[in-house]
Symmetry: C2
């Protein structure tokens, strides 16, 4: 199970709870960003789907137990829309950071309307068009992973190109999953470099192509994990492929960026910005 | 581009900005949860990578422009770790919701240490073990999508089973991408039902199998989008497959849940809870 990385190997300094009436993903994501500001070790516990008073009381018991064990107040990040559930959680011995109330009340003032105070729309999420688009985009991206299909590329929102293992697949899937973007991806391979041409199936769609590149030593490392000692993974070969790929992208006027020290979230965000500024669509 | 669904078809009531020194994903995710509490239409603009004073001033200009156009104060959700950047954004004509400062200061008090106030660790994210695990898990899940491979199933953290189009693939990819969980998935097909047995490759791994099921009418709808009018998509056939799959899971003692009205985030959260309570590993 993933855990927040920490510089200290000592036992956790504090227990942190993420309490939510939904999945708790928002509370956890947000809590992580805040906690990374502290060089401490946190034991993190997500308590999702707290949508009844009984469950809220159970959560309080769990929080108080942590207090007994740690001898320190647990930190509680919560996203509970219903005030009565929030009130129960506040009775725990934790330090309560209420993400909804803290911002909803000032927003009600500003917007001049009352909030609906219903449990977030997440419960109907599976029926929304937005959600269906995401699922459709995932299917599209899987069908168009690694140049598997040239069909229907006109339906793609973006087409990622780059040498094998430059980060195209995870980025495509992330764009699809989080934003409903239909992201195809297409490898640039030695045959393309010999011909000195972009794969012909891509030519009509140059406007929506984004290139990914990567540092040769990093690529060699990644490929060596896959096929240790192969020509494919050799530093020299990686250097050759990357040089050729960058040359080709430059020549064809394809926008590209390096994935070497970027996460898929960062790459995806940069691509979204590019799409947005092309379309002027917000 | 996806947009927040709204009950009103009128122009946006307000412009909302998500300003961040990183991708802005946290600010946006969090802002969405808060905004869904209001039955208003918001025009949403993410401004990522604000990591210099110049960029912060540009962002202020953009916010002020929205104020001029809308005639109403824009709402600004920000996750800017550096106080000097946050100070610049506060000078805009927007209503400022500072997600970091609001919670970091009380936490400093509580924890008795100062926050690092560096730009979040997200910039080094691509080097972290946690990140590498996620990429490795994505590769694993892709290689073990739709029963493509029986090899190395002992390395899987979970194995999802269910009839075709019950939601296994998106859930597997989500678990891998967000949590570094190696999630294989395996279809239950008519041949399995005729034999009345779980695919033999899965038998040794029953402990980590989770089943997904789905309402027959929903499944038929989803399959009809793929193969309109096919036997595969016919309601009667869907009903048969689902009955058989549920019977099999019940007989084999496999835990299962319905994906009919659940999002992949909700299904993934439930699976995480199951894994956690098995391992008692937090």
């Amino acid at each position: 199970m993933p855990e927040l990385p920490s510089p200290l190997m000592s036992p956790a300094d504090r227990t942190v709870f993420f309490v939510s009436d939904g999945t708790g993903i928002t509370a956890e994501t947000f809590g992580h960003s805040v906690l990374t500001q502290f060089e401490l070790r946190f034991k993190q516990v997500r308590i999702p789907f707290i949508d009844t008073l009984d469950k809220a009381h159970d959560a309080v018991r769990e929080i108080n137990e942590a207090f007994e064990i740690d001898g320190k107040r647990p930190i509680v990040f919560s996203t509970l829309v219903k005030a009565e559930l929030s009130t129960v959680i506040r009775q725990s011995k934790g330090m309560h950071m209420d993400l909804i109330q803290t911002f909803v009340e000032p927003l009600e003032q500003e917007l001049g309307v009352k909030s609906t105070h219903t449990i977030g729309r997440s419960h109907n999420i599976a029926d929304s068009d937005d959600y269906k688009n995401r699922i459709e985009a995932i299917n599209f991206s899987l069908a168009h992973d690694d140049g598997q299909s040239n069909q229907n590329l006109e339906a793609a929102d973006v087409i990622l190109v780059g040498v094998s293992r430059s980060g195209k697949t995870p980025t495509s899937l992330y764009l699809a999953m989080q934003y409903g973007i239909k992201a195809a991806n297409y490898p640039l391979i030695p045959e393309d470099f010999e011909r000195g041409k972009l794969p012909s199936g891509l030519v009509p769609f140059k406007q929506k192509i984004f290139g990914l590149t990567i540092a040769a030593d990093r690529l060699s490392e990644v490929r060596n994990e896959r096929r240790p000692g192969s020509k494919y993974a050799a530093l020299e070969n990686c250097r050759y492929e990357i040089n050729e790929a960058e040359k080709m992208m430059r020549r064809e006027g394809i926008r590209w960026m390096s994935s070497t020290v970027k996460s898929i979230e960062e790459i995806a965000t940069m691509i979204l910005q590019e799409i947005k500024s092309n379309r002027r669509a917000y």
